[in-house]
């Protein structure tokens, strides 16, 4: 039981077993387990983009798994970040060699992520969470579309395209869905800057002018 009277029924197989079965069935597929230390303990599988469609088809059709129902699909934006890691290093301290813990700073380039929550209606288990990551946030923002495997992802992948700017390759009908055609920029990204004014004709309110001035000065600075 996870928490708060709401059990997850991953039941049949553990996530490690599913991982090894994928690697046995789909040649060349690389699968990593993404940890989750929160009380929910919902860990997920990170797929490599080249084999994602094959893996998804396997997960749907394999008799023991039968993840026939993609409940939820969504995108997440991860900005460039500095990760701090503790590493044990051998060092000479006052003439004696000792093991010392050091914090190493690592640059992690930002990426966009697509997350799918899979359940099985036939076997009534789940969720199995799979994720895919783009190479970066700017130009290499392609991911394979899983709409061919689960039709239920159609509108949700369009939403990821619309609000996050992920391009889902071979999606049947990739258009903006919630924002209007011709809208520029992706409002759900973390670095999205709100427009100064939402009115069609600019209003000369004090607050709006202040915002516009601030944006202009930021642009000059960068």
């Amino acid at each position: 039981m996870a928490a708060a009277g709401c059990p997850d029924r991953i039941a049949v197989e553990t996530i490690e077993q599913i991982k090894s079965r994928i690697e046995a069935a789909v040649a060349g597929a690389r699968v990593d387990i993404v940890p989750n230390d929160s009380p929910s303990a919902q860990r997920s599988l990170l797929l490599d983009n080249a084999h994602a469609v094959a893996v998804a088809t396997f997960l749907r059709d394999e008799p023991g798994l039968q993840f026939d129902y993609a409940s939820n699909m969504t995108a997440v934006d991860w900005l460039d970040a500095v990760l701090k890691e503790k590493v044990k290093v051998k060092k000479l301290v006052e003439g004696v060699e000792k093991e010392v813990e050091e914090t190493v700073e690592k640059q992690r380039p930002g990426y966009l992520e697509a997350v799918y929550h899979l359940y099985s209606m036939a076997l009534k288990h789940g969720p199995l969470i799979i994720r895919m990551r783009t190479e970066n946030r700017a130009d290499k923002n392609h991911l394979p579309s899983l709409t061919r495997v689960w039709r239920g992802c159609e509108f949700q992948e369009r939403e990821g395209f619309d609000l996050y700017g992920i391009i889902f390759d071979r999606h049947p009908d990739l258009r903006r869905i919630l924002m209007w055609d011709g809208f520029k920029d992706f409002p759900m990204r973390k670095d999205y800057v709100e427009p100064d004014d939402y009115e069609y004709e600019p209003t000369a309110h004090y607050e709006v002018l202040q915002k516009a001035e601030k944006h202009a000065s930021e642009k000059v600075a960068t």
Binding site: D37, Q42, P187
Partner: protein, 395 residues
Amino acid sequence: MSAIAEFDEVAAQGRNYEVLPKALDNGENSGELLEVAMGPHHPSTHGVFRMDVVLDGERVVKLKPVFGYLHRNHEKIAENTTYLASMPYTDRLDYFCSLTNNWAYAMAVEKLAGLQVPERAEYIRVITAELTRLQNHASLVGFLMQDMGALGTPLMYAFREREKILDLFEALTGARMMCNYMRFGGCRVDLPEGWLQQANRVVADFPRFVDEFERLLSENEIIMARSQGVGVLPKQLAINASITGPMLRAAGVNYDIRKVDKYGIYDRFSFRVPLGEHGDVYDRYMMRVLEMRESVKILQQALPAIPEGPIIDPKSKLRGFRPKVGEAYARIEAPKGELGFYLISDGSPNPYRYRVRPPSFINLTILEDMCLGRLVADVVIILGSVDIVLGEVDR
């Protein structure tokens, strides 16, 4: 920016709906094709929603739903504020069922933070959720009849019953529709004096209303002629397209999250899951009627069994609430289908990612499949039988 240019190019390629199809597959197309925008201001679209329909005479050749008229980026707003401050905002998603929205969000946060819900609060949650289901289904059937041309009468009968339930909500939460009632690890206030007696009366009276409703509608010749065999949704397509709720069960798939996940205390009540055979509009209507009867059964078991005790987890903090780094997905069986919340915490007071899995948005995926080859008048009732609320579709 090259990324934006590529994006625009992809979006333009996808815009295939602007090209009218030349002929029907069976070569029946004789006359001119006509493109009609149904909505956004159309009485049958239940809000501001548009369908771009291509017609051959009165037959639908192509149909593309257009969303976003009510879009206010609910998810972004929630990511810019604290966990608790989004609770009243969830009321505005599916504004007919604010209490189930509250429950799904509270459950996701409870999973994320590892909070336990006291027994009494679990009972109150089940009771309010089932009352929500009763009033949602009753008014949906009323709206559906309105779409079929039974102007006013069934809807007013349904609203008369809905009003009694909204009175209960008002007595408990202070608001008829925007309840903002649940908190992480419990509920906001305890039941007021005399509330249980009043609820018992409402529940005891409810089957009489369903009987009366069914006498008027279920065997009505016009309703049967308009809805049977219309908008058929095959079982396999329903599963593959992530359809949930009464629509899925009308197609004959036995999947009710109250039974599958047994969240809250649903394993303590005996109730059945009604299933349809044909997956048409009539079956979807029957699902709602039968589910109302099952909800009454659950309420009749829950109301007398409610224990005394606290209504909120003492560990639950209203201020300075920062869940540990991690993520959680929680889902419930809302009246319209599976309502899920997906949260990612980065240890700060605001969620890093806040996602709503809206049932009625995803149930619209197969709207075109159900409408192809049907008449325009059928489109209206097929859409009515999906049961959408635009506050949730557009978010």
